[in-house]
């Protein structure tokens, strides 16, 4: 494996990890709201969360460009508040990957929260646990299989994200050129087939590893005994 290939993989991993780490907490919060609470506008929230899944990725990418570009309202807000800029940076690639992976994170977490017997929380309260303690000692551990399933699925999606990323932050080697973008670039050049094939093999291996890892984790977590 050449140096460029390694740097492409490392960049892709950084983008995907950052995306999932940043998206996980908001995804859990949204999943919890959708699973447990009734509020006006719930349908709108649900639709917004699902939108990246059904919208053409190019449209999502364009929307990100409008909102988070260097002239976009949210882009300027982040620039001024945290000094983070997204335009043509790897952070932008991570943002695009996170947004595209968000529905995949929310769904399994929401399902695991909905399937959970709320009686456990009630029992914990009668044993002296506050709402916050119940969350960390009962709700979160019981939702963990859903969290892991969502994280693995989202990570795989983030790793392979293409349309929104190329629209939002372009295809800049060493900055925004993740695995999929690099394969695309290589296939555009007449002599790039061999190099593209190597990257494709790596992509397949990574995907398989993710599936095996998620299966293993899910089994270990449930072996503890879910009735």
């Amino acid at each position: 494996m050449g140096e460029t290939e390694l740097s492409i993989i490392l960049l892709s991993a950084r983008v995907a990890f950052t995306a999932i780490l940043c998206a996980l907490v908001p995804a859990f919060a949204v999943a919890w709201l959708l699973a447990r609470k009734q509020f006006p506008g719930k349908g709108v929230v649900q639709a917004l969360v699902t939108l990246p899944l059904v919208l053409p990725p190019v449209v999502t990418g364009y929307g990100l460009l409008i909102l988070f570009g260097s002239k976009g309202p949210l882009g300027q807000l982040f620039e001024n508040l945290f000094g983070i800029s997204f335009a043509f940076r790897w952070t932008g690639a991570a943002l695009a990957a996170g947004v595209m992976a968000f529905p995949l994170l929310v769904r399994p977490i929401r399902l695991s929260l909905e399937a959970m017997d709320q009686g456990f929380g009630e029992a914990a309260r009668t044993l002296g646990a506050s709402r916050l303690t119940v969350f960390f000692t009962v709700t979160l551990p019981l939702a963990l299989p859903g969290v892991i399933a969502g994280a693995v699925l989202g990570f795989a999606k983030a790793l392979g994200e293409f349309g929104a990323t190329i629209t939002f932050v372009s295809n800049i080697p060493g900055e925004t050129q993740t695995l999929s973008l690099a394969i695309y670039a290589l296939l555009q050049s007449p002599s790039g087939d061999a190099a593209a094939l190597r990257l494709i093999a790596i992509a397949v291996a990574l995907a398989l590893a993710a599936i095996v890892a998620s299966e293993y984790l899910a089994r270990r977590l449930t072996a503890g005994g879910r009735a």
Binding site: G128, A129, A227
Partner: protein, 373 residues
């Protein structure tokens, strides 16, 4: 003395709950048909459901008072709750479940862990996962978990109703042991006459969200046996007596009920012990005169006090030596025997079907002869 005062109004589904009662040490059964509002009442005391108005005070602490706006959250009410479906945390071991109130609820460890574990016979299952436990074991862990929460009040919502008869009989001795050990008021919700008869000191009868009757268990259950609406086959009475003699060869014991004596089966009894008997109406027959040549050896002279007819059957209240028995016979037999209030008859008791449990002291705990300790 730790006492519970409840006086609340609220809604449970389609009907109103309007209930006032008190409970002291020992077991107070909230007894009544399914859907009478018993479980909702328990939730309101636990703080997981909210009454519309009223007051709940436990051991001098106000848990709820609509007049002052007091409404303590469940975790601050100092209660222990045993749910019908156990609700053990599936991701935690038995040990972590039992100690949950200590490490997550920060309740004081005033009751020794090892003692509770021994009391419930859970020594060998501490590292097991809840999913690997039997239904009976699961319910025992749930009881231990509630006890280890250092409760000032123990609430039990039909803890045996999800178990089959064999499992119930496995748990009942543990419940009887706890009743003696805990020394706190226990509110026990049930619609099973046999459980209430075996465990309760006091019965609060709940119908349609209201208290329709309350008092000592024996009196309430005897009244209930005659009342229309109750399950006549489960009707029966509770008798208290003293063991005067035992026959180890036949595993029998002679019990003195005031002036009369009956002989029942049972192991582990000794002369001098006070026992509580539950005699179902269906296990009592009536004869005009004493009979020889019957397998039924217990024949008590009695006087007919009341006859309540329902269709093909009749429930007969029989008085003897200050206590009462109920007999469930056919209406045809009642007429054939010419039974009238005041008739002198003999009540025949089948020894095998009478449940007998030992009472440590007249007002103290009830411990079965087959106590697990």
């Amino acid at each position: 003395m730790s006492t519970l005062h409840v006086d609340i109004r609220g809604r449970a589904g389609s009907f109103e709950i309007e209930t006032a009662f008190q409970a002291g040490a020992g077991v107070t059964a909230l007894f009544g048909p399914s859907g009478a509002g018993k479980s909702t009442l328990l939730k309101m005391i636990a703080g997981t459901a909210r009454p519309q108005s009223g007051r709940i005070v436990a051991g001098g602490r106000t848990l709820f008072n609509s007049a002052t706006g007091t409404n303590l959250p469940p975790e601050k009410r100092g209660i222990g709750f045993v749910f019908q479906d156990a609700r053990l945390f599936p991701h935690l071991s038995v040990r972590r479940n039992l100690t949950y109130a200590r490490w997550a609820g920060r309740r004081p460890a005033s009751r020794a862990f090892d003692e509770v574990v021994a009391l419930l016979g859970l020594e060998d299952r501490l590292d097991a996962a809840p999913a690997t436990l039997s239904g009976g074991e699961r319910q025992r862990v749930a009881i231990g978990r509630a006890l280890l929460a250092d409760p000032a009040l123990l609430l039990m919502d039909e803890p045996l109703s999800s178990l089959d008869k064999a499992r119930r009989n496995e748990i009942l001795p543990y419940l009887e042991a706890i009743r003696t050990e805990a020394g706190i008021p226990i509110l026990y919700v049930s619609h099973e006459t046999s459980e209430v008869a075996r465990l309760a000191d006091t019965v609060v009868l709940i119908e349609n969200g209201r208290v329709s009757d309350s008092g000592p268990a024996a009196a309430i259950l005897a009244r209930l046996g005659l009342a229309a609406g109750g399950d006549p086959d489960e009707a029966g009475v509770i008798l208290e007596g003293r063991i005067t003699d035992v026959d180890p060869a036949y595993h029998t014991a002679v019990i003195a009920l005031d002036d009369d004596r009956i002989e029942l089966t049972g192991n582990g009894f000794a002369p001098g012990m006070t026992v509580r008997l539950r005699v179902r109406a269906g296990d009592v027959a009536i004869a005009n005169a004493p009979h020889d040549g019957l397998s039924i050896r217990n024949q008590l002279p009695a006087i007919v006090e009341e006859i309540r007819r329902d269709g093909a059957f009749a429930t007969v209240a029989l008085g003897f030596g200050g206590q009462q028995l109920l007999a469930r016979i056919t209406a045809k037999s009642a007429d054939a025997l010419g039974l009238q209030p005041g008739s002198r008859v003999h009540a025949l008791l089948k020894a095998v079907s009478v449940e007998m449990a030992r009472i440590e002291s007249p007002r103290g705990g009830l411990t079965s002869a087959s106590s697990p300790r």
